[in-house]
Each structure stands twice: as C-alpha cells, then as structure tokens.
Amino acid sequence: MLTTLILVPLVGALVIAALPAANARVIALGVTAVTLGLGIAVAVMYDVDGGMQLTEQVSWIEAFGVHYALGVDGLGLLLVLLTVVLVPIVLVADWDAGDENPKAFYGWVLALEALSLAVFLATDVFLFYVVFEATLIPAYFLVGGFGKAGRSAAAVKFLMFQLGGGLVLLASVIGLYVVSAQQGTPSYLLSDLMALDIGTEAGRWLFLGFFIAFAIKAPLFPVHTWLADTTEKATPGTSVLLVCVLDKIGTFGMLRFCLGIFPEASQWATPVVVTIAVISIIYGALVAIGQDDVLRLIGLTSLSHFGFITLGIFVFSSQGGSGAILYMVNHGLGTAALFLVAGYLIKRRGTTLISEMGGIEKVTPVLAGLLLVAGLATLGLPGLSPFVSEFLVLLAAFDYGWWVGAFAVTGIVLAAIYVLWMYQRIMTGPTPPEVEATPDGTLREIAAVAPLMVALVFFGFFPKPLLETSNPYVADLMIHVGVTDDEPTVALAEEAGR
C-alpha cells in the first residue's frame, strides 16, 4: 500500500517525461488526484491507536544491513496527508508556472512528491538518507528552471546548503553503521537502532551530525540564509513545496531520528537547541518585518515558525511534542495559503515588491479577504488552527522555563507586526489608476486555496482529529525518551482549541 503510494507519482513523472508536453498538466493533475485518494485510503486504514502500521520490509542491500522498510505512524501520517493535499493545490493554483517547459515542471513536481512521501514513510535510516538526499535533485531543477532572474544562483546556493547538511548527516549515518556493527550485526532498521545501546560520547557526536543536517533543512538560525534567497527567486508554487513540505523533513527528522535514536544526546543538547530555536523565532520575525519582497518575507516568517516547532520538540513534554506536530501541519496549511495568494497578487501587479503594490483592496476584495485570512492564520489568531499549536508550544515552553516562554511570546507580537503591516502596504492606500481594471480572483484561483482556508478554520475550532493522530505517537516517544509529565495534556489541548 505504502509502496503504491510512492510509486504512483514516480511512475507519473516517468510517463510525463515519455509523452508529449501537451499532456503534461492533465497527467500531473490526474496523478496527484490518485495519490491524494491513496493518501486518504492510508489514513482510513490507519488505526488511530498509534504504532508503526502498514509496514513493509524487504532486504535491500544485504552487505550494508539495509532494508527497504516502510511504515506509517501518527507523525508520518499527518505529513503524508499534508503532502498529498498540498501538491494538487499547488498545481491548480500555480496554473501556468510550468508553461515554459511543462514536461520538466510537472515531471519534477511529481518526482518531488514521490520522494517526499518516501521520506516520511521510511523506517530504515539508510533508505531515509537516500530519499532525503534525492529530494534535492527535483527541488534543484524546480528552483533553477522556473521563477525569476537570478534563480540559477539561488538554486546552487540552495543545493550547496542542503548537500552540505546531507554530507554531515552521511558521516553520522556511517557512524551508526559502525556502532551497530560493533555490537553484532550491522542493521539500519529504525527499530534496531532505537534499541541499540550507543555509548554516551559516540551518541552525542552522531546526534550532532543528524541535528546539523536537520537544522539546515528546517532551517534554523544561523544556517537559514538559503531560505529567503530561494523563496524569492522560485515560483510561489515551488516555494510552497519547498517550505511547506520539504522543510518539514527537518523537524520530522528531529523527532524521528534525533529523539528516536539519541534520546540521551537530545536531552544533553536541549539548552543549546532551545536557545537556537528562540533566536530563530525572534530573528526570523524581526528580519521579516524589514523585507520589501513579499516572497522573501513569507520565507523568513517560516524561519520564525520553524523556531517554534523546534522549541516544541526540544522542551520534552507531551504538550510540546503534540504542539510541534500540529504546528508542522498548520504551518503547512497557513504558509501555503499565504504563498499562493501572494502569487496571485504578484501575477496581477507584475512585481514582488511590497512597496510597489498598494491600493488594490477595493478592486480585488476577494483576494484581499484571502490574504487576510492566510495572514491572520500565520500570526496565530484564535479560531484559526495555527493558534492551537502555537498555544501548546508556548505552554510547554513556559513549563520548561519562564524565560524561554517569555522570549518566545515576543514572536507572536512580531508576527502581528509583519503580517498586518504587509497587508496594509499591499492592500490599502489610494488605488492607482493602472490597477482599476485588475480582475479579482478567478474561480480556479479561489477553488485552489479554498480547501486550505476551510482546513484552517475547521482545525481552529476542532483540532481533535489532529491531536488524536499525534498524541499516541508523542506518548510513545516520551516513554522512549524517558520523560513523564503528569498533567492531563489532552484535556488541556482541547481546551486550547476552544
């Protein structure tokens, strides 16, 4: 089942490469729709009680102790669903992004979808590493091939950062092999590695490699510099795939591998990681305020959000863990909406600079409304789903130490500034004569982002499905890490939702 889920978009990519360009978009939409269906089927088959499910395991490279092993748990399921939902939305919203070279665009998008799904489903560290690195190739060609001038330099910068992180990770992956070989038979299965007794010192070094790679991926301060350059030059659709899907691998990896394989080292590193996370929250928000390029701005807000997610992960409590997982989903929904609506506006105004937009609110009230909802979601307005996750993370942060919470809370204030000020500068003000005839959002554009808007509102009032999926995973993880907290967290979380 899970293999089928990965194979469908992969085969779709190959079909697109083989057939004439005219069919590319239709095939891509069809394939992503089928993948969406399969993703929902996986969710239906998933038993909400938790644990690795629908597992598949075949020996792949015997000499290396490597298995082709897939499985889905609460964390994986949410991210798989996020992926299969976002890809078709991006294709519909960014309708003509690939017109220059449709075969390449749709082929790479589908390849990216397939590899991302494999990343979230892999339960073998080697397999994870392989697909983790392989996602970079489609991403590189999407950034380098589509977008505005200067994108090829941005693509190289993106790839260099990512591959650099990847190679650091490789050192740790190899180290894991050596450690597991020393203790008998080498194996890369996650279940074997989680049971492995890695020495304290070795564990800390190996943890470092994993964490650096995921910090670059997520990204966190100070290895975030590729992020804004990439989102600025790429198309809004590509940015959604990069920031809302691919970057999740960073925080996903922290949960699954850093905490899963190196519980001791993760707790040892907590003070530093929490500091980095808080700096990312504040720094990202501050820098975002000063941006004039709307795509850069949205990119940098994500730095702040990834700071929140990392904070939630590394404060080691059920609230923090659940909050972080919810945050990953909500950030995916909210930021995707923001990128795509900004993309609509950019198309109409022919510029990405906020200072040159202005005054379009009255002409395009629907787009203004969409931008406002997406923006309010980003700043964590109660009633929209990001509020729930932000609240949980902050609660956990205060629990960890009041000063951490106090610093992190400023992120919310700053978020209000960058979102509202952005909205004000893009939308309000006197309407320039040349934009009088600007068409409002078309049916296709509105339909594309409508599911995101509905989800933001729905999960804002009713986060239970998300929490029920993530809580068993977090509970297992906390037991594995050896942390117990006695507050009734689920009840609290539900209160937070209302």
Binding site: A63, V130, L163, L167, I174, V178, G184, P186
Partner: protein
C-alpha cells in the same frame, strides 16, 4: 645446475593469454592486410578478443577452488608463484575487460569525424607540415591503436594479478608503454596531444624508476620478490627494517603515480586533456582499476602485517589528494580538465577505502571489508567516468571536440538528452543517492570510519561538499545559463551506434548500481580475500 620446466596453468590464465594473443595477432594483421580493410578487421578482432577474454574470465571465476589457510579465499597461485588468480583478480579482470569493451567501441567511432577515426593519420608527420596534410587528404588513420589497446589491457590484467614484485613491474611497463603512445595519437590538436604523451612518458619513466628501486630495497629486506615471502619476512620481523620502510615508500611512489594521487598528480590534467578522448575514457577507468588492484595486493598481501607503518602515510596522501583534487577542480574552465581533477579527488576517496584495512577478527559478521568497498567504488567510478568522457566526444563544434565551458553553455536547452546524461554522471561522481557513486562513497567512507580513520572521513566529506559545488555549477551552466548572444556554441553530433550503446550501458549501470547495488556487492563479497 638443474633447469626446472615451469608449469603454466593455461586454463586459469586463459583471459590473459587471449588478450595478449589477440594483441600479437593485431600486429600481424597490421603488417599483412591492405590499409583500407584494416579498420574493420582490427576493431572486430579487438572486440571479439576482449569479449572472449571476458567469457573466459567468467568461466574461470565460476570454477575457482577454495584456497588459503583459513578458507577465506579461493583460486590458485599460478605460473610458478608469479601470477595469482583469486577472487579479487577475477573481479578486477572482469572490470578491466568490461571497460576495455567500452574502449574498443569508442576507438571504433568514425561517424563523428565524417568517416575517419579520431586518431592521427600519420603520427610521424610533423604537425603543420605538408606531410600531415597529405596524410589527412589521403584519409589515413592509424589502426595500430587496437593492438596497442590490447597490450595495455593485457598489462592491466596482469598488474593486479601479479604474485611477485618482478611480475608487477613487468605488468606496470606493459600497461604503461602503449598508453604513452596512444595519448600522442590525437587527430586534432596534435601538439597538445604530443605534449601530453611526452609528459606522461617522462614522468611515468621516473615513477617506474622509483618502483624499481623500491623493489630492490624490499628484496634486500625480505630476500625474495615473492609477496608471500615478503609477508613472512614482515611477520617474522627481519632485520634492517629501514630497508622495508624505504622500500614501501618508493614502491608507493610508483603506484601512487599511476593512480594520480597527490603529490604525483601533475600529469593527470594535461594527459586527460591532450589524449584523444576515447583513450582518456578508457584510461581513466581501466588504469585506475588495474593500479588500485595492484596497490591492494601489494599492501594487503605483501605488507598487510606492516599496516601500522603504511596506513599513516596513506592518511596523509588521501587527505592531500582529496583536497587538492576538489579545490583545484573549481578553477577549471575545460570539461576534460575538470573531469581530470575530479579523477584526482576520486583517487583520494579510493585511497580512503584502501586505508580502511582491518583484520578479519576486527570486523563483525557480514560487515563490509575495505577490499569490497574499493572494488565497488572502482566499478561505480569507472562506469561514470567512461560514460562522461564518451559524452565529451559527441559535443563538438567546427574544430572537433569542444571541451571549453563556454561552448557547453546552455547545452541542456539544445540537447536535453546528452546534457541530462552528462549531469547524471556528474551527480554519480558527486555521490548523490540513487546513483552508483553514492553507494561507492558510502562503502569507502564506512570502512575508513570503521578502521578509526575518522579524520580522513571528515576531510573526505568536506572535499565532497567542495566537489559537489563544481559539479553542480557545471549542471547550472548546461541547464540554466543562456549563451552570450552571438557566441559560438558546441552542438551534439550524432555518434555511431557503438558509442551510443557504450553511453547507454554506462548510464544504465550507474542507475542500476545505485538502486540495486546488491548483486554487484555480492560479487565483491564472493570474491573473498586475496590469497598468497
């Protein structure tokens, strides 16, 4: 004095004998056949000869007997102790012969130059003279390249199979001399080609001298040329250890020169650039396989017990080679030179694997050994290198092959297939997952890490990042950069089916080894250990 009639195991040595025999036959053909028929006959002969040798290798490989004291190896020590046919030998033979098949196919390419081969019409004609023009208007072409190629292949087969230092030296010369000649035979840009050949020859001759001197010193230490006897002397700790130290150092110079390791890498870029690209393609893959095979045998079989002395030296060489290769490659503006420096960097990665030697007791059950890792890396690098150079052959402008970066700008828009394949080979060399290069890199890094050489692995990873930069930059140049308006650019010329097939096979192998490396790794595992 008694004269003992040597016994030769003809069946086990048949691949070697076939190749050498075909090479001699080629010389005869050259003497007796009219010029216009030679090309077809020679290329067919060489192709059939290599294929037959490959078949013989497989047959021999399937019938190896267990050997060695601990039963870890299989095969036999033949030709009175001077040639060893064991599992690793068979693997290396197979590899060399496969690359030789590709080499023959590329040598036979005549479509790119409109019906003539890429080799000089008359090597003796001075460039720029009437004699050269006459040779070119007559449509002359040297067909001696095929026997030369076969001799080089013969030397490459013998090199990693040698059981004593003397045979190793003979093999070194047999493989080197024809290559020196082949490098100087380019049809176009002959001065560059001849300069490359001259440099290669002079430096190669020096390095052979070092090797010879090293042999003498090791003989002085061990009292024998035989690897097994040298090993015994090392284990028992004979006197005059200083002779051994110096001997190892000098032997290493000879071998490190052949593989192009720093500080003996200076010839690599000039030779790779100047030689006819078909020769570069074959040489880059084949020589590396043969020389690393010989290095493994020398270090593991003869000097394995003394590894605490040579491992530190290899640490330094590996680190220098990787760093210099990767960093200097950034400054290149010629595709062939870039690939040459990348070859230097890959030599460093291979040495990283070589220095990962551990005794069987230190390894877990089923753990990758350094021999397996190096064998796999040679396979993965060889196919990528052969394929990449073969692609360089087909990208041309009015003056023949066009390897300057400027000419390759925007190739991805003009010929997506060729640029895509080239990018694929570069990605494999960069070690991106789902290509053969990644698995190879993983393997050599792992064995080095397992042997405690983590500083080397860290440098290797840093160099990989640098290497990724110049590969990716070149991909960007092909796909995302538009040529200057009015600038002359290179176009892809349709090549003969043989060249196309070679490229296709290399690409398929690179993908296959990246996705399903199991079968080939199993071959390396089954090859077992060296025997003495």
């Amino acid at each position: 004095m008694d004269f003992i009639n040597p016994t030769i195991e003809y069946a086990e040595l048949s691949p070697l004998l076939i190749v050498m025999g075909v090479a001699c036959l080629g010389v005869v053909v050259e003497a007796f056949l009219p010029r216009e028929r030679r090309h077809v006959v020679q290329s067919t002969l060489a192709g059939v000869g290599v294929a037959a040798a490959l078949g013989a290798t497989i047959a021999v490989g399937l019938n190896l007997d267990p050997a060695g004291t601990d039963g870890a190896g299989q095969g036999l020590v033949g030709a009175e102790g001077s040639i060893v046919v064991d599992g690793p030998t068979i693997y290396l033979w197979g590899l060399v012969l496969v690359f030789a098949l590709g080499g023959v196919a590329l040598f036979a390419e005549r479509r790119l130059e409109a019906g003539i081969s890429a080799f000089a019409g008359q090597a003796a004609a001075v460039p720029g003279t009437d004699a050269e023009r006459e040779a070119s208007t007559k449509g002359l072409a040297h067909t001696e390249v095929y026997p030369l190629l076969m001799f080089a292949v013969g030397g490459m087969l013998l090199f990693p199979a040698s059981g004593d230092l003397l045979m190793m030296f003979v093999a070194l010369e047999v493989l080197s001399l024809p290559l020196y000649l082949l490098c100087g035979l380019a049809r176009r840009r002959r001065l560059l080609s001849q300069e490359a050949a001259m440099k290669y020859f002079l430096l190669g001759a020096f390095s052979s001298g070092f090797f010879l001197y090293g042999m003498a010193l090791v003989y002085g230490y061990a009292g024998s040329m035989d690897f097994a006897a040298i090993n015994e002397a090392v284990v028992n700790g004979a006197d005059n250890e200083i002779l051994l130290m110096l001997g190892i150092a000098l032997l290493s110079v000879g071998l490190l020169f052949k593989v192009g390791a720093v500080p003996f890498q200076a010839w690599t870029p000039d030779v790779y650039q100047g030689a006819p690209t078909a020769v570069t393609a074959f040489m880059s893959a084949g020589t590396k396989v043969a020389a690393f095979g010989a290095m493994l045998r020398l270090f593991y079989v003869a000097l394995g017990a003394d590894r605490w002395d040579w491992q530190p030296m290899l640490w330094v060489v590996a680190i220098l080679t990787m760093v210099v290769g990767a960093v200097v490659a950034i400054a290149q503006t010629d595709v062939k030179r870039m690939l040459a420096y990348s070859a230097v960097a890959h030599t460093g990665f291979l040495i990283t694997g070589v220095l990962g030697l551990q005794s069987a007791g230190e390894l877990a059950d089923g753990q990758v050994t350094s021999l397996q890792a190096v064998l796999f890396y040679l396979t993965s690098y060889g196919v990528a290198s052969l394929g990449a150079f073969a692609l360089v052959m087909v990208v041309r402008d009015a003056n023949g092959e066009s390897s300057s970066f400027v000419r390759w700008t925007g190739l991805g828009k003009r010929s997506p297939l060729v640029a895509g394949l080239f990018a694929f080979f570069l990605l494999s060399m960069a070690g991106i997952p789902l290509t053969a290069g990644f698995v190879g890199k993983w393997a050599v890094f792992t064995v080095a890490m397992s042997a405690g050489a983590w500083p080397v692995v860290l440098v290797a990873i840093a160099s990989s990042i640098v290497a990724v930069y110049f590969y990716v930059r070149f991909i960007r140049l092909m796909f995302f950069t538009d040529p200057e308006p009015g600038a002359e650019v290179a176009e892809v010329t349709t090549a003969s089916p043989l060249t196309g097939l070679t490229i296709a096979v290399c690409a398929a192998a690179t993908l296959f080894l990246g996705v399903v490396p199991g079968p080939v790794l199993d071959l390396a595992v089954h090859a077992g250990d060296f025997i003495r």
